[in-house]
Amino acid sequence: MEISLLQAFMLGILAFIAGLDLFNGLTHMHRPVVLGPIVGFILGDLQTGILVGGTLELVWMGLAPLAGAQPPNVIIGTVVGAAFAISTGVSADVAVGIAVPFAVAVQMGITFLFSAMAPMMSKCDRMAENADIKGIEKVNYMALLVLGSFYFLWAFLPIHFGAEHAGAMVEALPETLIDGLGVAGGIMPAIGFAVLMKIMMKNAYIPYFILGFVGAAWLELPILAIAGAALAMALIDFMKKSEPVQIKNEEAEDGI
């Protein structure tokens, strides 16, 4: 079966929407179990779409972005994989095999985008300074547009030009650069924390910063446990401050 330009275009639009849903909206219509049937519907073979969707759902089972880290991209994996499965009639597993390099390329591409989006934050800082509500909103909308277009391209191109030609594209990506951006993404929260600390850090809170770090770095406690212990310390401090008055009475009583 041949995929028409219109169909390829519609699959690109589908990827656009699903791509947004992965991080925004989060209705999870981007999961293979929903996405598969839609691809099938577009390509005129709903039944295969359903089956491929079910299969891919199991493949991506338990893979979700935790703390911003990207697993191989579920959307491109599903859209491209299901399109190949339906058009060439190969089994879902084989189709996934073909889609995997694209899913991985998009995983890296998203990492790239999320790093490249960082400098935009300073612009937002200035908008915030000027109480520019519209500006902030526009940045968010624009970001969605960029992200969605990115997904559109990664679905449209392989489907329209075929995996072989698109595969060449993937291989053309400069690997160290992409890897370097992945590393940069891992480090970047440091800048976020630095900006945060500029607002919040006073000398009085240095000790608590140290305690949190010791707890996480050496004792490998999860954030929840550390927040619990911190709450305890905060409460002790909170209740202590009101004591001096009480103490004086007590001392008076005790005749010290």
Binding site: P119, D125, V139, T176, V183, M197, G212, A216, I223
Partner: protein
């Protein structure tokens, strides 16, 4: 950590920046306002990025309410600046944090106090939510859906979608209202204890930030010094034994120092990316 002169200047300037000029309690937020916030919270991660993560999307969600609360324009600017700070929490639980934060905004708490609370509640909820929704709810719904789908039924997609989103949207809207009401009922207590509450929130917030630095910043060197027969893996053999998360701490403190010297985040990002790419290229990262 910061010479005494520096910190004095800093703390002075912060005190000024920190407080809202208009200290009167803000306009009440209606159900519609909170619903609007919940709807907008769907775009929490619209401009997700690795420096501030959900910051701008978070601010996007709060904007209408903030605009209503801070009639004084300078105050609005202060509030917005604060909310551009680093945040990462779970997208399903975020409205819980939002509700509480809006109540604090209404009672005109200090910016640093609000930000501390945001981090103190939001950050641990990130892990909690991931475990509950990404690692539990999602595979369960997905499993049911896939099961039906593999039998060839379109009901797989439908059941999955409904099941998942009933939980999703009830939480998103339910928590928003619940948290806001809770926050508002606490306003009198907070108002009466402004300084103490701020101090307590900062304690939790800064402890959590200390932990986040060790957890979220991923920086390790692949450097191995091979000298004849000897191989010293700098990360595994030296740094990890001395002080795990040493490099993340070092890098964060360096960034902090540069921020205090007035470097803009963009400059720091450029620096970071350059370092990362060069490091990858040279093989030490």
């Amino acid at each position: 950590m910061g010479s005494s002169k520096n910190s004095k200047l800093n703390s002075e300037s912060i005190v000024g920046e920190d407080e809202y000029q208009d200290q009167s309690i803000g306009t009440e937020l209606t159900r519609t306002d909170i619903n609007k916030m919940a709807w907008r919270s769907l775009l929490l991660q619209a401009s997700f990025n690795y420096e501030r993560m959900q910051a701008a999307g978070w601010l996007y969600g709060l904007l209408p309410a903030l605009n209503k609360i801070h009639t004084n324009k300078e105050d609005l600017s202060k509030a917005m600046k604060g909310h551009m700070g680093f945040l990462n929490t779970h997208p399903f639980l975020v409205t819980f944090v939002m509700g509480i934060i809006l109540a604090m905004e209404r009672s005109k708490q200090n910016v640093s106090s609000i930000q501390s609370t945001k981090i103190a509640i939001g950050a641990p909820m990130g892990g909690v939510g991931d475990a509950m929704f990404w690692l539990t709810l999602l595979p369960i719904c997905g499993g049911i859906g896939a099961d039906l789908a593999l039998n060839g039924s379109i009901m797989g997609a439908v059941v999955f979608f409904l099941l998942f989103n009933v939980v999703h949207f009830s939480l998103r809207f339910g928590l928003a209202h619940y948290a806001y009401r809770m926050g508002v009922s606490a306003i009198p207590i907070i108002k009466a204890n402004t300084k103490k509450v701020a101090h307590a929130a900062s304690i939790v917030g800064m402890t959590v930030i200390g932990a986040l630095v060790a957890t979220y910043v991923n920086l390790s060197t692949t450097l191995e010094i091979t000298a004849g027969d000897a191989v010293v893996k700098i990360q595994a053999d030296v740094i990890d034994k001395l002080m795990p998360a040493f490099l993340p701490l070092l890098y964060t403190l360096t960034m902090f120092a540069l921020v205090k010297r007035g470097w803009s985040p963009v400059r720091l990002i450029v620096l970071t990316v350059t370092l990362a790419v060069v490091g990858k290229f040279a093989g030490f990262l």
